[in-house]
């Protein structure tokens, strides 16, 4: 298009082009530099790399953005038809060089981006030697995390026969047993390998602060790795639609400042499990609070700071079990709660659907809930009354269980 113009005009054009490109690149970089304002805190080693990659792409994208918008605005001002001008524009059909350039440049850009992305991807997936394995499980609509505790770390003064059967087995076989938590605990600098599975639909495990996300796929186990570098509490979010309570499916990751702090939390958790309280009410509270069962995803229970909205509110459940619900079902309150756990579909509270998983009293079945746990939960829920007194007569419970289901 420059043919027929003088040499000096050509030089000026080149200068203009160089100037415009510089302006675009500077503009892109400025745009990219503004992004930290838009990102959550950088909580993991990987987040640094991902953010750098993002900023790099944003700088290029920003330059292209400015180029296109600038060209539009310039054309709109420069090439608008003056009022009364009914003529046509120049009869130009194309320019092979120009078209080749704007095919080649984007091709080079995406090539660079691909290579850079690949490098970041490979390095974020690197397996670190000292990584800690944490098991994450998604259930509608709650997260639970479990850690393997080696039997060797159980204190020697534990009364083994009072423990749940799976821990007893672990101790006799010198293997390990899991403890469960509703929060994910770790500490700064500890590489983590999450092993994820789901007990129902798909979920996605996402820690925005770590820039890490992995879907939980029904019937499969998936993995993800990251290394926290900043102490604090960050949200864990479900990012894959899993049903009515999807938005509520949140948890926290608590990154302790150092290993000592983390270990003190960890041994507290182990002690809670290996020294089970004799009082069934306390044990029930402990079982529910551990997140071993996904109750908090749907139910509200202020005493345990649950705020689920999909299922019936459990505040004051003891009172209601003894009055409204026992009138409706003709069962004693302890029988009602006990059977509701094993046969939820038969005890629907009016206005709620059959969404609760049916817990099973036999090991090996999905949603296994040992009878002992069931008894403890019933004992605890019975105390959810206005007065705090238990609404139930727990001595009946054994007879009910003995009678079958």
């Amino acid at each position: 298009m420059n043919s027929g113009k003088s040499q000096s005009t050509n030089n000026m054009t080149v200068l203009w082009i160089i100037g415009a490109f510089l302006a675009l690149i500077i503009g892109g970089v400025i745009i990219a530099q503004a992004t930290p304002l838009l990102f959550p805190p950088q909580g993991s080693a990987e987040s640094l790399q991902v953010d750098d990659l993002f900023k790099f792409m944003l700088a290029i994208g920003g330059a292209i953005f400015l180029l296109v918008q600038g060209a539009i605005v310039y054309s709109v001002i420069r090439f608008r038809a003056k009022p009364g001008d009914l003529s046509d524009g120049a009869n130009i059909h194309g320019n092979a060089t120009l078209e080749l350039v704007w095919t080649a440049i984007p091709a080079v850009i995406v090539l660079v981006l691909t290579v850079y992305s690949y490098q970041v991807w490979v390095s974020t997936r690197e397996i670190k030697p000292n990584e800690q394995t944490v098991y994450g499980r998604g259930a509608r609509f709650v997260w639970s995390f479990s850690y393997d505790v080696p039997a060797s770390s159980v204190p020697s003064d534990v009364e083994v026969d009072k423990l749940p059967p799976n821990i007893q087995d672990a101790i006799t076989n010198d293997s390990s047993f899991p403890i469960t938590s509703r929060e994910l605990h770790t500490f700064v600098g500890q590489p983590i390998k999450m092993v994820l599975d789901t007990s129902d639909t798909l979920h996605a495990f996402w820690i925005p602060a770590m820039r890490m996300k992995q879907d939980l796929i029904s019937g499969r186990t998936t993995e993800i790795r990251f290394t926290p570098i900043q102490a604090g509490e960050f949200p864990v979010v479900c990012a894959e639609l899993c049903g009515g309570g999807h938005g509520d499916m949140r948890a926290s990751i608590i990154v302790h400042a150092d290993e000592t702090e983390y270990l003190s939390w960890f041994s507290d958790q182990v002690n809670l499990v290996v020294y089970p309280p004799d009082d069934p009410v306390l044990r029930g509270e402990q079982v529910l609070a551990s997140g071993q069962y996904p109750c908090s995803g749907c139910h509200t229970l202020t005493a345990l700071s649950w705020a689920g909205i999909t299922g019936p509110n459990l505040n004051g459940i003891g009172d209601r079990a003894a009055t409204v619900r026992s009138a409706a079902t003709g069962e004693t309150p302890e029988e009602y709660i006990h059977r509701s756990l094993y046969h939820p579909a038969e005890y629907l509270v009016p206005g709620f659907g059959a969404l609760m998983p049916q817990f099973q009293p036999d090991a090996g079945q999905p949603n296994f809930m040992p009878v002992d746990d069931n008894k403890a939960i019933v004992a605890y829920l019975c105390t959810q009354t206005a007065t705090g007194e238990s609404a139930c007569d727990l001595s009946n419970l054994d007879a009910i269980i003995a009678a079958g289901d």
Binding site: R220, T221, T222
Partner: protein, 190 residues
């Protein structure tokens, strides 16, 4: 009617004058397929070239094999032959099918049917005998050959427009890609 008013048309690509087709009845001009131009021509040319380069020996070999078989069949003496000699080539044979007398031309279709039947028999025999390393590829290969035969001869793809070949090959390519991909995806775990 007003056909003489046609303007000279030019091909944008070459700049050459396109001669207007002379004798269309009114209104049929736009319904006639004009000579395949541009992209279509390129695609068809490429296909023809590739066919000449690769497929043509195979097809020709098959054709000659088929005609050899046909000739051999014609040599067999019998009532069919006398009739074939008597009548035009296409009215070669009369057989009784389901109680009715029907003319069966001894043509390529019947030969293909025979080949299909034999190939199927071979497949079944292969399946019933103990499996070897080559059994499965052989069976799949026979199935593909059978499918190609039906498509080429019964569906007339051999002699029909090359565009139809493209129309058939595109989805086949896409689905082969997707099927292979689905096989590589592990069913459990990662």
């Amino acid at each position: 009617m007003a056909d003489e008013q046609k303007p000279p048309l030019t091909d944008q690509k070459t700049g050459e004058k396109v001669s207007p087709t002379p004798s269309y009845p009114p209104g049929e001009a736009e319904r006639m397929p004009e000579p395949e131009t541009g992209l279509e021509e390129a695609v068809v040319n490429a296909l023809d070239a590739s066919e000449q380069a690769v497929a043509s020996p195979v097809v020709q070999a098959f054709d000659s094999a088929v005609s050899a078989v046909q000739e051999a069949v014609d040599q067999i003496p019998g009532p069919a032959k006398t009739h074939a000699e008597a009548s035009a080539e296409e009215h070669s044979d009369t057989t009784i099918i389901m109680g009715r007398a029907i003319t069966v031309p001894g043509g390529i279709y019947t030969v293909v049917f025979g080949v299909l039947g034999v190939a199927t028999l071979v497949e079944i025999i292969l399946a019933e005998f103990p499996r070897g390393l080559l059994t499965i590829p052989l069976m799949l290969g026979l199935a593909v050959v059978k499918a190609v035969l039906v498509v080429m001869y019964y569906m007339h793809l051999r002699s029909d427009s090359r565009v139809f070949t493209v129309v058939l090959l595109l989805p086949v390519a896409v689905t082969l890609l997707s099927t292979l991909y689905l096989i590589t995806v592990p069913v459990t775990g990662y």
